[in-house]
């Protein structure tokens, strides 16, 4: 039962990641269009896209958010496993469990306080004033959702650890 739910949840995370891939392409195209329009002076077209920096920033943030739970499923959030690999497998496994519990608690705390932050921003009507003027809560609201998704994935991650071999995982260790 748990495996079936986990599989379906994994598909949801893959769907979000695919949306992130698409946004990456969109971000690239927006910046390229801005550079070309600014430098080529094509008649009938605007001289650059004034909003391109801000939209790119927002897209970058959304890309990071959309990819984070999928990366956790893939074991691609890097870590330092030098100690875990040196310890007896069972001890390393216990430390993995403890790490997962701590990480899940972090996700719940972040989900709660980012929701609170979004709500307060909505109530106070705070604005982000740059080229575009947008309500601040627009940029804050993805955060609680993503941390809820991450904490749910932490549960599935722990389930995989508990039902798997009693040793350390082999997750990614570098971004280079």
């Amino acid at each position: 039962m748990m495996d079936r739910i986990s599989k379906a949840y994994g598909q949801l995370l893959t769907g979000l990641a695919n949306l992130g891939f698409l946004l990456l392409l969109v971000m690239m195209l927006i910046i390229v269009a801005d550079v070309l329009l600014r430098n080529l002076h094509i008649q009938g077209l605007p001289m650059g896209l004034a909003w391109s920096n801000e939209v790119s920033e927002m897209l970058l943030y959304l890309i990071a958010m959309l990819l984070a739970p999928w990366l956790l499923r893939q074991g691609q959030h890097i870590r330092v496993d030098i100690v875990l690999q040196a310890l007896p497998p069972y001890v390393a496994w216990c430390i993995e469990c403890l790490g997962d519990v701590l990480a899940m608690l972090c996700c719940w705390v972040m989900a709660w306080y980012s929701a609170l932050s979004t709500l307060r921003s909505f109530e106070s009507g705070s604005l982000n004033i740059k080229t575009l003027v947008t309500p601040e809560w627009w940029s804050l609201c993805p955060l609680p959702f993503i941390f809820v998704l991450l904490s749910l994935e932490m549960i599935f991650r722990m389930h995989r650890l508990v039902s798997g071999p009693k040793g350390p995982r082999h997750d990614a260790v570098s971004a280079s």
Partner: protein, 441 residues
């Protein structure tokens, strides 16, 4: 003896993050966890935690970080469309009658990939899986087959475009453009040193490489055709990115977008761009850059808490109050980075050290570009240092099992020494790092 408040704060923040890191918690969650504790203790309890959420969003919503995924995408397109294979073939046709020819080809091709790719692992894995089996089959010694590939993979971090250089610039406040340009000369010097070392070592010990390893000698136009068809057009992307950056025509973000777009366009022209290749490239890009960006979520807050708690100021005053010369302090910082590089990854190295190192750099009025380039060389060294250097592990993963781990360790030693010599050279003659950025103005 009672600890002062800044000592408590630094022990909690820096010591706590090290404990969680070595427990194997993902780096991003380590910093989020420490930030939660730090924000609660030093930023006024619950309001601090609400502010933490705001700061997290602001950490990532930064235009200066946009080049990270775009630089990675450039390399991924190059590797997944098969363009990289054509470049290797072009270099192989060109390099002829040189001792240790295929090792030289690996270094030259690696330098060209460094100029397009923002990922050291991708470069090492690509060259390692393609060239090591061929070199071994032709009678190259395992040390000569693996060493140059690991070494040139690490140089990828120095030569722009480099995602980690952008991250270093963004987290440290050092000019990203100048840092990218500052890495060019040290990177090229290392590549030249590697080629010289390969030729010299084969001359001194001919048993390292076969005397004649060219199954087909290309002559006339055949020899140069791939150079004009594939190598020069690929290098033109580097010229576009670095040229626009150096001439101030575009920001690093705009250069990165143009570079990524140019690489896709080039792959289109060679009819090698498929939906599958694009998807694989985007997936590879997402894996590397998505994870970096999520770690950055905690970066600003980590530095803010260190600052609010007085830990940054306390540590900086403690270090600068030792009456040591700036040179000795910089040497100490580099030694810390090299030791850290043996144990932790490059992003964690930056997250842990920059909030302390940068205030010291500013207070001692040290040239940030010079410091930044040396920081990059230390991170590059960390990739090669036994026993856990990441590129050593990457090579172990792609090299045939007949190659022993001891041979891989032995293979990398001369290149580690050359990188240390370069670090010392940049330390002694800062102009190596600052000359090109100075031309930017």
């Amino acid at each position: 003896m009672m600890m002062s408040s800044w000592q408590m704060a630094s022990t909690l923040m820096l010591g706590g993050s090290m404990v969680l890191l070595f427990m194997g918690m993902p780096v991003a969650f380590t910093f989020i966890g420490i930030n939660i504790v730090g924000a609660f203790l030093y930023m006024g309890g619950e309001p601090g935690l609400v502010q933490l959420a705001r700061s997290s969003v602001n950490s990532v919503m930064s235009f200066s970080l946009t080049p990270i995924p775009l630089f990675v995408l450039m390399g991924e397109i190059l590797f997944h469309t098969g363009l990289a294979l054509k470049v290797i073939e072009g270099i192989e046709r060109l390099v002829s009658k040189v001792p240790g020819r295929l090792a030289v080809v690996a270094v030259v091709a690696g330098t060209i990939f460094s100029a397009i790719s923002g990922s050291t692992i991708a470069t090492t894995a690509m060259l390692g899986s393609l060239m090591v089996p061929v070199m071994l089959a032709r009678g190259y010694a395992p040390t000569l087959a693996t060493g140059p590939i690991m070494a040139i993979g690490a140089v990828d971090m120095l030569i722009p475009p480099s995602a980690l250089t952008v991250l270093l610039g963004s987290l440290s406040g050092i000019s990203i453009s100048k840092l990218l340009i500052g890495g060019v000369l040290p990177g090229v010097l290392l590549s030249i040193a590697f080629v010289c070392w390969i030729v010299l070592s084969v001359k001194l010990n001919p048993a390292l490489a076969p005397e004649d390893d060219e199954p087909t000698v290309f002559k006339g136009w055949d020899r140069f055709s791939y150079l004009f068809k594939y190598v020069i057009p690929t290098l033109s992307i580097f010229a576009l990115v670095v040229g626009a950056l150096a001439l101030g025509w575009a920001t690093p973000t705009e250069c990165a977008a143009l570079g990524a777009f140019g690489t896709i366009l080039l792959a289109c022209l060679y009819a090698s761009l498929s939906m599958e290749a694009v998807y694989k490239a985007l997936k590879g890009t997402a894996s590397i850059s998505g994870m970096i960006l999520f770690i950055i979520l905690g970066a600003t807050t980590f530095a803010q808490i260190l600052s609010f708690s007085g830990a940054s100021t306390g540590l900086v005053q403690f270090i600068t109050g030792q009456e040591l010369s700036p040179g000795v302090i910089v040497m100490g910082m580099m030694a810390i980075l090299i030791v850290l590089g043996i144990f932790v990854d490059q992003v964690s190295m930056m997250m842990i050290t920059l909030p302390i190192f940068m205030p010291i750099v500013q207070s001692l009025q040290i040239d940030p570009i010079w410091f930044g380039v040396m920081f990059l060389i230390c991170m590059q060294l960390g990739l090669l240092l036994p026993p856990h250097g990441l590129l050593i592990m990457t090579m172990r993963g792609v090299a045939p099992s007949s190659i022993k781990m001891g041979e891989i360790f032995l293979a990398v030693i001369p290149y580690v020494l050359m990188s240390l010599v370069l670090l010392f050279a940049v330390f002694s003659w800062p102009i190596i790092a600052t000359w090109l950025p100075a031309l930017l103005g």
